[in-house]
Structures are given as C-alpha cells and as structure tokens.
Amino acid sequence: MTAASLDSASKIYGTFAALRNATATFPMGTCTVILGENGAGKSTLLRIVAGLITPSRGTATVFGGAPHKQRRRVAYMSHAPMLYDELTAMENLKYFSKLHRSEGCDCAGSPEMALRAVGLDPTLTRPVGQYSQGMRQRASLARVLQTDPELLLLDEPFSNLDVKSSQHMVELLADFRTWPVAGGSARTIILTTHQASLAEPIADRTITMRQGQIVDTAVRQPA
C-alpha cells in the first residue's frame, strides 16, 4: 500500500526548476528521510505532497487521491513554527484542533497531551512569540501531532534544536509510529533534513536529492 507517490513531478518557477522529474513512492507505515543540501528541492517535494503547491508537470497522489483532498489525514510541519506569536501554545493548539474537528469528535484533551508529549508545559502563560526557537519548534510539532495524522510531513524538524532536543524528537516520532490508527492502516512519516545522522534511527528509507533531482534511493535493512 502506498501513502504517497510522485510520478515525474517537476516544479518550475519562471526559468528555475525547483524540482525536476521526481518519481518516488512512499509506502504506508514507513519513515522516509529526504536528504540534501539547501536548495536541493526537498521542501518543494514535501510541499507538493502536502498539496500546498501543484507540480508544473507530472502528478502527485496521496492515499490514492489528490493531495489537497486529504487534509484530514495529512499534517505538515514547516521550519517556521506556523503558530500565532500573540497566543500561548495552548491557545494555538486549541484553535487548530477546532479547525480539525470532525463529526462526533472535538479532540478534547489532545492539545494538552500533545504539548506534554513534546515536553512543553500546557499551563505556560507566555505567548509563543516569547518562546526560544527550540520551544517554538516543539510547539509546532505538538500542533501537527494533535491532529492524529496518518501521513506526517516534516520539513527540517531538527533545525533550531540542540542535540538533546533532536534526539527527544526522534524518540517521539518513533513512538508516534506505534500509535494505533483508526481503520488499521499504519502511520507514515516523510522528513527532510540535511543532518542525516539525526534522523538515522527512525529512517526506513532515504532519498538523496541534488539540484532538484532525486539522485539516490536506499532502503535501510533492519538490524
């Protein structure tokens, strides 16, 4: 079963090709780490899978359909915190959890759980604008985890984090993969980073990108 796939996808801005002819599949239940230097096209690929941009050429599918039709099953975390500076982490998370509410589920309680899971105090009254970069990153991760996504897209999640916090995030992501999913499917993670060593413990597959192209795909053998 495939969670997401790209078929000859390209993204061209004017005369600049941010992504060139990318073909990849992301099997359900796996964690794929996309490696590459700045400007390699990692974020563009991730944003196409998230449905935030459409490929100029080629196609992208998520759970067998158009990416923008799968909002309830997909969560995306960018390197920016995607939170309101004036609100506390709890207020931010409650607001976004309401936007994800579905019939019969108000996701009550999950913002607190998500904040505790990332090591933040839910009772903190300081607005997010006064948080350190690392705290913002963790609050941002809590924002995506609370929506209980089947496909989690993380763009440079370790940027702004020290080694200890990065390791904690990796442990948390490993734990997230074990959370049960309604309907019996498995959780999938696609993560971009230029720090390969940090993501190694959870990577099932690695994709290496250079100048907008996928240059290598490797499947990690279980130890």
Binding site: R72, Y76, A80
Partner: protein, 229 residues
Amino acid sequence: MKYARYVLDHLKKDLRLEWRSRDSINGMLFFVLLVVVVFAIAFDPASYPTMARQISGGILWVGLLFASMTALNQSWTREQRNQVLEAQRMAPSPASALFVGKALANMIFVLLVEVVLGPIFIVFFNLHVLGNAWLLALILPLGTWALVVNGTFFAALGLRARNRELLLPLILLPLSLPAVLMMVQATSGVITGDLDPIQIRTWITQLAGFDIIYTTVCVLFFETVLNAE
C-alpha cells in the same frame, strides 16, 4: 451549523489577537481622528453649519474607508507571519469560514472606531441631525460591511504581491465607489433632512444589495485566492 462554529473559531481568534496587540484599532482610531480634526479646521463648520451638514457624511465615510485600509492589510499580515497561513491551508475546515470570520472581526474593529468617533465627529462638526437619526443604525453597519468585506477579500488577493500596501487601495477604492456613493447619500440625507425617507430607504436597500452581492462573490472565490500560487 458546523460552518458557523468554524466562523466563530476564526472570529474569536482574531478578536483575541487584536486584544493582545491592539495594532488595528489604535492605527485606525488615530488616523480617522486626524482626518476629522484636519477637515474640521479646514472647513470651519461652526461658521457654516449648513455646509458642514452637507459634507459631513462624505468626510465620515472617506475617513473610515482610508482608516479601514490600514487595518485590513494588518489582519492578513498576522496570518503570514510564521507561515500560519500554510497551517490554515492544511486545515480541513472550509477556507471561506476563515474569510467570513476575519471580515466579521474587521467589521467589529471598524464599528468600535465608529462608536468612539461618533461623539467627537458631532462635536467637531457642530452637527444636529435633522432627519430620522435611527436610520443611521442601519446605514453604519451596512456601509461598514461593504467596506470590510471587499477590503478583507482584496487584502487577501494581494497577499503574495510585492507592493500589497499599494495594491489594496488601487483595487478597493474604484470597486467601493458605488457603495461609498450609497453610504454618503444615505448618511447626508439623514443628517441634512433634505431627502425624504423613501429616497433614503432606496439608498439603504441598494447598499444592502451591494453587500449581499459582494459577500456572495467573495465567499465563493476566497478558496481560489487563498490557494493561488
């Protein structure tokens, strides 16, 4: 019902953000107060009460139109900071609920400014309303909605533009001209007492029609605007 809950969530969020920062209301209030003071000095309304009554409706709405533009760009800037808008785009809730919530919040901000401005305006322009003053309770909200619904939409349209501060007045002012004409005619008619109630009601009905048409169009096209690359 569910849609209304989403609108309410966005509205509450925008009111809370404004309460914490007070960027929009303070900016609008100072701007419109300056406009009133400058015009009051320029036209000397105490010496020419009839003329003051005739031009006060126009000054009020033009002042509010320009003042609201300062707040409208501000309301979307908050969404762009930290890429929060991308989180909004990823949310499964209807995109138009975000627009309606934000337009309602902007309407509340402008109405608050009008509440503060009203008494000051009356004093500075030495006004005595000669028509049915209660009609202003219809004209002010309808006129304010006409300004903010278009303004919120076109401020969102200019989100990815480099010169968005310039783009908003360039698009909004010509499109708002029919509404401004209706608001000014109705308001001046009430203040001067020159128009009979039937004529004033005609202007109010047209203003309500303008509001309905533009609200429908903005709600229908907002998702396209939000997801434009």
